[in-house]
């Protein structure tokens, strides 16, 4: 079973640039894929100006939109 580990940056800079919207997407993904999706939070990924940032399976994604995050995760899971 494929797994995805998502780490959402909830630092102030990322929050300002929309991390709460991403958190909603993450909730939905978790509902859909259950234990295939593991979620964690962090306070900064060191790329504040390019926020919101998310770490997906160890890779930092920048300027993430809800659509972008969803596609990324679905792609990994269905690859």
């Amino acid at each position: 079973m494929k797994k995805v580990r998502i780490e959402l940056c909830v630092g102030t800079s990322c929050h300002m640039l929309g991390s709460a919207d991403l958190s909603l997407v993450v909730d939905l993904l978790q509902q859909e894929y259950e234990e295939q999706v593991e979620v964690g939070y962090c306070t900064c990924l060191g790329a504040c100006a390019k926020g919101p940032n998310v770490k997906v399976n160890g890779k930092v994604l920048s300027e993430v939109t809800p659509e972008k995050l969803k596609t990324e995760v679905v792609n990994i899971l269905s690859a």
Partner: protein, 505 residues
């Protein structure tokens, strides 16, 4: 619905960058390069060309520096304007402005035939149109916009629902008809009508409407004054995400340079008790009903659109001014920064010495980010907030004012209060009309210009579905329940200082 759109991000990036220059004292030196820097930062293009984007950024920068977009500032180098901005001019009374070059001049043809038109046999639209504006062209109804008077009868008559009514989002959001399309169909705000609620700011999909920020002066005060107090509105809870507590936010504010953080809810406690007494004194002997006066946009709505019932408005100041003046009474050298979700507060504060600057939660976040302070890294351990009662904190949410007022009345008088609440300018306006025409049985009106109350304000960072839950938790955990249980309230109301009254003489 606080979805962070691309437009919101642009506005926030501008605020962060302007704040950064000010913190680092390089505003005059580097401001001219900022539009270029902002355009280069992101590869995405929103407008026809880079030049237009830069021009729009320049306008946003002016507003972020606190300047109005008046004619004489056009085409001036930003560094020259920054010099002006650093003198912290007071500026006009109104807060909300249209960025002309960002306005997309949305179509104003209100009624429009869609492809769902089946060219039916009865042509009811054509029959009902009082102006003969509808003809059939290429198998579809067609509205001659020169003849159309926008009565909407055609839309009502079509059984397929094929005729659409299109609004400009800003016009629709405005509860007082203050926005009309002006020259070249660019939106134009009539400041005689506008109440500064800021609903149009959030509604415009092009981000073409905004308000002036007071961040430069705020930073300057933090850098040069010893005692700067942050007066935080109760709606602040949850603004930095569900995981960041109120105490953590307070700790971050102290780190940023505020010498003290005080909850505006303290002022709410004062107002609730004072207004409760006013209610019993004046209703029904002197007036038939009383209205709240804590929301500045609601106050403006009454003053500008319902002047006949000005007498019915509570004579007390808002919680913000009550708390601010109390702080200045304790120490006249204190500088007070009000931090809230509200645009209209910026105008309200201009007329009172209690408050030195007003910034929104969004602008606060920009100040923090620009200074490299990450609120989510604080835990607020050791911080205690004990300024206000739970009901005072509840002012932030619609219905909260009424609840606090009710509970401030003596038990045997509580059934004399028959309150009703209105939220959003549209609804407030409707209710005020009802009261004016004596159609309303209630004897107290709580008016909040934003839907959901302050939690739904234009300067918020978090969705009110989340923050309203967190506010409830905060109130639940507060041991001091009633405004009357707040010792400061007792002390102040015995003296009943003049500054508690809107009309100070």
């Amino acid at each position: 619905m606080n979805h962070v759109s691309e437009i919101t991000k642009i506005r926030r990036r501008v605020l962060i960058e302007v704040a950064r220059l000010q913190w680092e004292n390089r505003l005059l030196k580097d401001i001219d390069d900022l539009p270029e820097k902002l355009v280069q930062q992101h590869d995405q293009r929103y407008r026809c060309c880079e030049y237009k984007e830069k021009a729009i950024y320049a306008e946003r920068i002016k507003l972020a520096m606190g300047l109005t977009l008046k004619e004489e500032y056009h085409k001036k180098p930003l560094s020259e304007l920054a010099k002006k901005a650093l003198e912290f001019p007071v500026g006009p009374d109104y807060q909300v402005e249209v960025i002309d070059i960002a306005c997309d001049s949305c179509p104003i043809n209100k009624f429009f035939v869609s492809n769902a038109c089946r060219n039916c046999l009865i042509h009811s639209c054509q029959q009902v149109c009082p102006r003969g504006a509808i003809s059939i062209v290429q198998n579809q109804a067609y509205i001659d916009q020169n003849k159309c008077v926008e009565c909407g009868l055609c839309k009502k008559s079509c059984r397929f629902g094929a005729i659409l009514e299109i609004h400009r989002p800003c016009e629709q959001a405005c509860g007082v008809g203050a926005i009309k399309s002006g020259e070249n169909r660019i939106s134009n705000i009539d400041h005689n009508k506008c109440v500064d609620c800021g609903a149009c700011i959030t509604s415009c999909p092009f981000g073409a409407i905004s308000d002036r920020a007071q961040i430069l002066k705020t930073i300057n005060m933090l850098q040069t004054n010893e005692k700067v107090v942050a007066l935080v509105a109760p709606a602040i809870v949850g603004q930095f995400g569900r995981k960041v507590s109120l105490n953590a936010i307070i700790e971050a504010l102290q780190k940023m340079g505020f010498s003290q953080v005080v909850e505006v809810a303290l002022g709410a406690d004062l107002v609730a008790v004072a207004e409760g007494a006013e209610f019993l004194r004046r209703v029904p002997h002197e007036i038939e009903y009383l209205t709240s006066s804590c929301c500045p946009a609601f106050v403006k709505l009454i003053e500008k659109h319902h002047p006949n019932i000005k007498e019915n408005m509570s004579t007390y100041v808002s919680p913000m001014l009550a708390a601010a003046n109390l702080l200045k009474e304790q120490d006249p050298n204190t500088k007070v920064v009000f931090i809230g979700p509200c645009v209209a507060k910026k105008g309200e504060a201009m007329h009172d010495e209690g408050v030195d600057t007003v910034i929104t939660f969004e602008e606060l976040a920009a100040l923090l980010v620009a200074k490299g302070i990450n609120v989510s890294e604080f835990d607020g351990a050791g911080i205690e907030t004990k300024d206000a009662s739970a009901l005072g904190q509840g002012f932030a949410s619609t219905g909260g004012v009424s609840m606090a007022l009710l509970n401030s009345l003596p038990k045997d008088k509580q059934d004399e209060l028959n309150y009703i609440k209105a939220e959003g300018v549209h609804q407030c306006n409707e209710e005020l009309n009802n009261f004016e025409k004596n159609l309303e049985k209630a004897n107290y009106l709580e008016g909040m210009a934003c839907e959901g109350g302050c939690l739904g304000g234009p300067g918020t960072l978090s969705d009110q579905r989340i923050t309203s839950r967190l506010l409830k938790d905060l109130c639940r955990d507060n041991e001091v329940k009633q405004p009357l249980d707040n010792p400061v309230v007792q002390e102040v109301l015995v003296r009943h200082p003049r500054y508690l009254h809107r009309n100070k003489d």
